[in-house]
Amino acid sequence: MGVGAWGRSWLPSKRADRVRWGLAIVLLLAAAVVPPVSLYLEAQGLIESARFEIVLGVTSLILALWAVSYNLMLGYAGMVSFAHAAYYGVGAYAVAILLQRYNISYFAALALAPLVAGAVGIVTGFVALRAVRLYFSLLTLAISQLLYSLAEGWYSVTGGDNGINGIATPDQLTDYPTLYYFVAAIVGVCLLLMFVLTRSPFGAALLAIRENRERARSIGINVKAYELAVYTIAAMFAGVAGALFPLVQPSVVPGMLFWTENAIPVVVTLLGGIGSFLGPGLGAFIYTGLNNSLSRDFPYQLDVLLGAIVLAVVLVVPGGFASVPDIISQLRRRVVGEGPAPADAETKGEAISMIDVTRAVESHAIEAEHTEKGKVLLKLENLSKSFGGLRAVESVNLEIHEGDRHAIIGPNGAGKSTLFNLITGRVRPSSGRVWFDGRDITRKPVHRIAKAGIGRAFQITMIFPKLTVLHNLQYAMLAHRGRTIEPWGIANRIYRDEAMGLLDAVGLGPYADLPAGQLSHGDQRAIELAISLALGSRMILLDEPTAGMSAFETRKAMELVRTVARDRNLTLLFCEHDMSVVFGTARTVTVMHQGRILTQGTPDQIRSNLEVQAVYLGELDLDEEEAARA
């Protein structure tokens, strides 16, 4: 419960954290005393059958495991799957078939079940993840029904629509309290493993993917691989839950795999709170209790009630769900008027940046003196891209030297954005090659190119808005250094100091613990710049870096870019419509027109080039530009 699935970890209220941990401990203690309390109550004549209550407890535990594993996908990775019941069913069938046909012990079957479910999960998940978001969900629906049809139709193995009956409980577990503690131990170990996973760098990568898939790719995360990994892991834990199921009910039927069965983990997860790790566990006990007390007398009212609860959760917190501590702390903030920090920090940050700007302007003046050329860092060879009949980029040859600040200008539709997309791998070239630092990076996937050292700032700011500014950087470092495959450790504690140092360098130190989405437009650009630095980028592509900024912000941002580029020997490649930015920052300017390179030169050469003036600068009043630069 420590890590908020919906980026709650940024919340300053430590009290909400304490409440959450307290709730978790109470829940675990309550779960631990179910058998003795039931036996005591039975002895006192307060309940009819302790055995019945203990079996309910076992059911809740199994359900808790199933739902928490579902929430690994839903809450942490933002994936809606309709096939999770199928993996639960596969786990149950695996145990039943192994027990009855191969006559091995229940415990061996229990150990094999997650492997079977995981194997089915990785194969089907590979297929489902060929699509994204909605189409992913629809594919899981198809897979779920496919597995269901197999369970129902494959008589020789699954017993067809009769299922498999009379699955014996092993002798060691016939005593009910023993059964309870056995299941509790298995579920406990599984929950612990999943908890460690969610806090680990691997969990951080999932959060990044849920927040912003595009950005996750460009910080070097192989999105599909991580989604497949979490899908398979969730399937394995669902398989364990399914394998425990025959302990409370000695038969498995194809209906367990039918897609509507996914209502159970969905409802349980939403009941307990999608935003917390143990929430679905709490939901499992509530659900089992409700189910047991209502299903005898009001079975259909229960469905209506559960539907209404899901609907309420979805509608009341639109755009995402949060658990109760979150809502309470938000309400309290609203009621008490305990304003969040941004307003204050903003003014402070402004003052700091103002000093930075003055300092940067001075240093730029000195630095502008020497403009020696380094080796060729990026080389484009005959690069072309056509979309249908439209030739967006045509036979572009371009060399960009290390340490250069290279601007690409040209009217709208000149092919600048396509060129950038070709370099970063978001668009595949029709022909031609891209070389970076002597290596061929043509047609390499986005995350590989990012790792090679080409960073990018997007036309529309692409950060992880719900994560804190600091976590934005930490997760980028984890991803870039290949540590997000680690399923242990605590992500939020790794690279903390280094990330703080970078934030100070771009003047964002005071904002470290705020959600990135709350910062001003200009400061969000600065986060992107810092992320690029965190990725160890040697070259940064800026696509209209100052679009949508005020004149003051523009100056501030470009000074920052220049300072950082000089201090860290970065190579800049940018396109921009604001000529004062272009001529104030660039050392080399390339002019594009209708997908081709028209000319290239120093800013002064470009200004005096008549051809350029004809196609592009003609609209501009050069005197005014001169004035702006002075």
């Binding site: 629809l138 198809a142 496919l146 008589y155 539907g307």
Partner: protein, 292 residues
């Protein structure tokens, strides 16, 4: 397989395709215009089927069918209007996750309510048109042939609605740019409600048409919903012609699966294999347009 036998299975497939097309076309229409996957679509189908059976049985088979059809489609459309106004309006433009969960919750509520009102036992009614036709040695129920004709008429009507009327033009415009449509004086809110009500009505119509030929209970919507998804995904979400082709494929696969018990067990599996293959190779379906 002799020609008579083949014709028998092919016609059975057409009859299945007929009602599946009507249901899938509604789902597809709603997705095309509103960009929302309606998980409660099958529930509307189920409610309409139950209502029509109850009304038809009350009034007597034959005479009762038309009033039953009218009542059932109206009920489905009315529930659709309520869903659109109270829930969907709040989730347009949200992530698919929110929309899926919200409409899924509605499906749970309608399912529970249907069991409360109608009980969970299955009900049957007799076909409004009795009689049969013999071709190549096999006899065909006239009602199955009427279903096929009805589906063709409904498909033609939808085509006319979308491409020959002002409403259809607005719907198509809403698909490409709702903001621009709004700015040009069209009440997009009203338009969305209308589209969703039409979609709900089609779900209901599918339910009514199929009701006399099978047992009806509150779970029939669950399997139809998945088939409707399969059809509209194969054909391309948002495409009416795609739904027709998809329905034909699914209907025929299921029907020819009846040839022997083994193929029967795996016919459904085969439908989902087709769906998976299409989604993997061409995620936007055979006739759909790629989503950017």
């Amino acid at each position: 397989m002799d020609p008579g036998n083949f014709l028998l299975f092919a016609t059975g497939g057409l009859a299945d395709a007929a009602y599946l097309f009507i249901v899938a076309a509604g789902l597809s229409l709603v997705f095309g215009a509103l960009r929302v996957i309606n998980m409660a679509h099958g529930s509307l189908y189920m409610i309409a089927a139950l209502v029509s059976v109850v009304v038809a049985n009350r009034l007597g088979a034959g005479i009762g069918f038309l009033p039953a059809l009218l009542a059932a489609v109206l009920v489905a459309a009315a529930i659709g209007a309520v869903i659109e106004v109270t829930v969907l309006r709040r989730v347009y433009g949200h992530e698919h996750l929110v929309q899926l969960l919200a409409t899924y919750a509605i499906a749970l509520i309608i399912g529970g309510a249907a069991r409360l009102i109608f009980g969970s036992n299955y009900r049957t009614t007799s076909t409004p048109i009795q009689g049969s036709l013999t071709m190549l040695g096999y006899s065909y129920s006239l009602y199955a042939l009427v279903m096929i004709v009805a589906a063709i008429l409904i498909g033609a009507a939808m085509y006319g609605l979308l491409f020959r009327t002002r409403l259809g033009r607005n719907i198509r415009a809403a698909v490409s740019d709702p903001d621009l449509l709004n700015a040009s004086g069209v009440n997009v809110t009203m338009l969305y409600t209308t589209v969703f009500v039409i979609g709900a009505g089609l779900a209901g119509l599918g339910g009514v048409i199929v009701a006399p030929s099978q047992a009806v209970d509150p779970t029939i919507g669950d399997s139809v919903l998945v088939l409707a998804f399969a059809i509209s995904v194969i054909g391309g979400l948002g495409s009416i012609i795609g739904s027709a082709i998809g329905a034909l494929m699914v209907g025929e696969v299921i029907s020819f699966g009846l040839i022997n018990p083994t193929t029967n067990s795996f016919a459904l599996a085969f439908v989902f294999i087709i769906m998976t293959v299409v989604l993997t190779i061409r995620p936007w379906g055979l006739f759909g347009r790629a989503e950017t």
